[in-house]
């Protein structure tokens, strides 16, 4: 087990390196192929008053005058060993993990990331709990009462949920609950959990529900399909023949087997969501990772883009590792040795 985990962690680090290298290449090489010069790249960070001497100064200070592989090496080195930067009278030390300073406004990226992770994490965790519980429950009930009114209604709603994008449901929710029936009369604003847990939950309720609506629909359909399949298996008949209670048959024998693919997808979805619920954050004006990513991309701000991409990739890798470990608990046939 320990060896397995170590192997996976090692692979994860390699993967993150590859992701960072690819992001780096996309950022620098693609515009270059399209004919952009380094000066034009640097000119974007000079502000409104670009002139050759300020462009040269900025280019040098950001290290854009070095070959790309060297810039990449500096980036990776700073990540593990920290680095010194100078955006003023004195050099400032940025300690590991150092994602560098934003090209655009010279703000250190790492504190920005860490201040935004709780926002996105709050969003993702709450929504995930809601969609897992409701999605799986609805899916199981639908499967057990296949063809019933409940099944048809819930699958109809699920179809709508899958089809409606978050920028529709989220904004509709806002229009209804902040204007029509103002439950949130001054709008939805993120409040930190440590400041006020009740306010935190109350303000997140609407984003959670809009996000969960989309996902629970998907999970309900998945669970239903999985349950229908397993409930038709021979061992379920055997379990029933043994005289087990129906709820034990469903929960222990049926659901457990149907859960494996759902856990896999959940790991992926959840990881992606922590990496930035871009649209949800935009709709509700939350300052999370997704919002940061958007502004980084818009400003062509490499360190910001790198930071968010790596954090996102990190969460996906971690979630997948957790999923693989959870398999062993769900499916006793899986053993890591």
């Amino acid at each position: 087990m320990a060896a397995y985990i170590i192997r996976r962690v090692f692979a994860a680090v390699l993967l993150l390196l590859v992701v960072s290298a690819v992001t780096f290449a996309i950022f620098f090489l693609v515009p270059r192929i399209a004919g952009q010069t380094v000066d034009q790249l640097a000119a974007q960070y000079v502000g409104k008053d670009a002139n050759p001497s300020s462009i040269a100064a900025v280019k040098h200070n950001l290290g854009l005058d070095q070959p790309i592989y060297e810039q990449y090496w500096h980036f990776v080195k700073a990540l593990f060993a920290g680095a010194d930067y100078s955006f003023g009278p004195d050099a400032a030390h940025c300690s590991a993990p150092c994602f560098g300073y934003s090209f655009k406004n010279h703000i250190e990226v790492w504190p920005q990331l860490t201040s935004r992770i709780p926002v996105t994490l709050s969003l993702a965790v709450g929504a995930a709990v809601i969609w897992l519980v409701s999605g799986v429950a609805v899916g199981v009930l639908s499967a057990l009462r296949r063809g019933s009114f409940f099944d048809r209604l819930s699958m109809g709603v699920a179809l709508a949920g899958v089809s409606l994008p978050i920028f529709f449901t989220g904004m509709l929710g806002l229009a209804i609950f902040t204007v029509q029936w103002p439950l949130w009369s001054s709008g939805v604003n993120y409040v930190s959990f440590t400041d006020n847990p009740a306010e935190w939950a109350w303000n997140l309720l609407l984003p959670w529900c809009s996000l969960a609506f989309l996902y629970s629909a998907l999970y309900a359909r998945l669970t239903r399909a999985g349950m229908l399949e397993t409930m038709g298996e021979d061992y379920i008949r055997t379990a029933r023949a043994k005289g087990l209670k129906e709820n034990v048959v469903v929960a222990k024998h049926g659901l457990r087997a149907a859960l494996t693919p759902i856990v896999t997808i959940f790991g992926m979805d959840f990881g992606l969501l922590i990496g930035g619920a871009v649209i949800t954050e935009q709709v509700f004006s939350f300052k999370g990772l997704g919002e940061y990513a958007v502004s980084g991309i818009r400003d062509n701000d490499l360190p910001v883009v790198m930071g968010v991409t790596l954090v996102a990739a990190f969460f996906i890798v971690v979630c997948n590792l957790l999923v693989d470990l959870v398999y062993a608990a769900i499916d006793p046939r899986v053993r890591y040795s």
Partner: protein
């Protein structure tokens, strides 16, 4: 398994990228507003609405985006320049006053306006006595000198602000900036003979210098407190308010600066006890909070969101609370003199006559969002002269005259050209479409090519090589002056010296010796009246050259909450409310 994870991680990067294009504005709304103001629509254009001398309360600002920086030495945004007056005192500033009076430059940190030498090459200012920083130390002329050095000569750290001092100071091209050149003397061309006197030595005569002295970059910064790009986190106030908190990308709170002495400051009333500003608030939320009175100021000052516009214009109660303020910017099309057939003046004039400016105005949002423009200089710039060299009924264009010019140009059946615009600016794209339709009527086919605004000037429309090789004949752009005089407006967009290999704003590549000469000589003239006349004359010459097609003087549709007091539009900062005046009425 491994491969799928790599794919997932890549997918994350792609999703993030896609998210950038999908960022729709959210809509948060919060109930109806209470009561309408007693004032009429546009009242704040010509009066101070809801005048009050009442002290106290919290004046709240919100902004849909973030500032380039709140550091007075690192900002180019008009609204920050306006806002910074709450905590930073530049040598001069614009008078917080109604209408045209707001265009007047007045002494702020200095006792009086600058005293120029006869050739306008040397400018001397004397600081007021008794001005102190928030920590009680006196402000000296050396701090002003240091502020100019850091704001103009350290692009590697403070790249956002204008660098006019670098351009005009006698040794501006030699000095390396305070972070690289550690010699105690600093730049040679700024002298500080004593703690209250500061003397600027310029390369050439520059009669608009008092306007440069009004840029926030002259607000004093004590050298020992300067942390370069990090100074924004601990700005040392010289004005009536000081920062009690600041969070990057989120907002700031300002409280009274007890060391500010109203006796040294004849222009600020400083009525509110506290000032708060929040960044990245959804624009529609801002609008609704203005309407329901839970917010006093939309800091950006560009006016309400297009979504909110019908709501405030159709309801008579809200309509009374709107101000349609001239934004000090003109939308126009530059006809590039090096792209055929615009090298021929008759082809340029054909466009001048053929363009339906009224349809461009409609596309910009109609009369509340703009007036039909006939000059490059907008009416709120010192030196504006009203004229129309291509008069057509209601600005709708004259097909017959346009065809006549086309014939003289040797293109009687019209021609095909490219019209560029910024893809992420809806108004500009809409105007481009309107222009395209009106040119179609005279046989000119303008294919619209759009580019992202962030790279418009650095990579495309502002790069002559690119413009020539891609035949970008018509370049849509908009311009607002850095300071509201004819020179401040015209120099960067019509002087031949402003043509740059990249990032230039003279998109027509106009390099007319006569226009250049007139600009360069008028700016040396210390007689303000003569200068103002010259700007109008130059504007007319540019119109006769026909390379710039003015379309619309942009206007902001501002919403004036009843909870705000002392509200008036300042013409100096691109037609937003004057933030140095505003207070809370409750």
């Amino acid at each position: 398994m491994k491969r799928s994870k790599a794919t997932a991680a890549m997918a994350a990067a792609v999703v993030l990228a896609l998210g950038a294009t999908a960022c729709g504005g959210g809509s948060k709304d919060s109930g109806g507003g209470k009561g309408g103001g007693s004032s009429a629509a546009d009242a704040a254009l010509a009066s101070i609405v809801n005048p009050s001398d009442k002290k106290g309360g919290t004046l709240t600002f919100a902004h849909s985006d973030v500032p380039d920086s709140l550091d007075p030495g690192n900002t180019y945004y008009g609204w920050v320049q306006n806002f910074a007056r709450l905590y930073a005192r530049s040598l001069t500033t614009f008078k917080p006053a109604v209408g045209k009076a707001g265009l007047q430059i007045v002494p702020d940190l200095a006792e009086s306006l600058g005293k120029p030498s006869a050739d306008a090459k040397t400018w001397t200012y004397t600081l007021r006595q008794g001005v102190k920083y928030e920590d009680g130390t006196p402000v000296t002329s050396k701090d002003v000198k240091y502020a100019v050095e850091r704001s103009n000569f350290a692009p590697e750290a403070l790249s956002n602000g204008p660098t006019y001092f670098k351009a005009h100071l006698a040794d501006g091209d030699k000095y390396q900036g305070p972070y690289k050149d550690k010699s105690p003397d600093g730049i040679k061309s700024i002298e500080t003979p004593d703690d209250r006197t500061i003397v600027f030595h310029l390369k050439d005569g520059f009669a608009d210098f008092d306007y440069l002295a009004g840029l926030p970059g002259t607000a004093p910064v004590p050298q020992k407190a300067d942390k370069g790009a990090d100074y924004v986190k601990h700005i040392i106030s010289s004005g009536p308010y000081k920062f009690s908190s600041y969070e990057d990308g989120k907002g700031a709170t300002l409280v009274r600066n007890p060391e500010w002495d109203p006796k040294t400051d004849p222009i600020r009333k400083a009525l509110p006890d506290k000032v708060e500003i929040k960044f990245k608030v959804n624009q529609v939320t801002i609008d609704n909070n203005l309407i329901n009175n839970s917010l006093q100021v939309d800091a950006q000052g560009n006016g309400v969101d297009p979504q909110t516009q019908p709501k405030v214009l159709q309801d008579p109660k809200y309509k009374k609370q709107t101000d349609s303020a001239i934004a000090g910017a003109t939308s126009y099309i530059g006809l590039n003199l090096h792209v055929k057939p615009f090298d021929n003046i008759h082809c340029r004039k054909a466009v001048q006559w053929g363009v339906d400016r009224a349809s461009a105005q409609e596309a910009a949002g109609g009369p509340p969002k703009g007036d039909v423009a006939t000059t490059l200089l907008p009416p709120t710039v010192n030196g504006y002269t009203k004229f129309d060299e291509y008069p057509t009924p209601n600005g709708k264009g004259d097909i017959a005259k346009a065809k006549e010019e086309l014939a003289q140009c040797g293109q009687p059946n019209g021609f095909t050209t490219t019209l560029t615009a910024r893809s992420d600016r809806n108004t500009e794209m809409a105007m481009a479409t309107a222009v395209q339709a009106s040119l179609k009527k005279i046989g000119i086919t303008a294919e619209i090519k759009s580019f992202p605004s962030g790279k418009y000037f650095t990579n495309f429309a502002g790069v002559p090589d690119y413009v020539h090789s891609h035949n970008l004949g018509m370049i849509m752009t908009a311009w607002g002056a850095d300071w509201p005089t004819g020179f401040g407006f015209l120099d960067q967009i019509t002087n031949g010296a402003a043509i740059k290999p990249s990032g230039g704003n003279n998109v027509q590549e106009l390099d007319d010796p006569k226009i250049n000469e007139m600009l360069n000589s008028a700016i040396k003239n210390t007689d303000a009246a003569a200068r103002n006349k010259a700007w109008g004359d130059i504007d007319k010459l540019i119109a006769d050259n026909a390379s710039a097609v003015p379309l619309v003087y942009r206007k902001n549709l501002l919403f004036r909450p009843t909870g705000a007091a002392n509200v008036t539009v300042t013409q100096a900062y691109l037609g937003m409310y004057d933030y140095a005046l505003m207070s809370v009425s409750k």
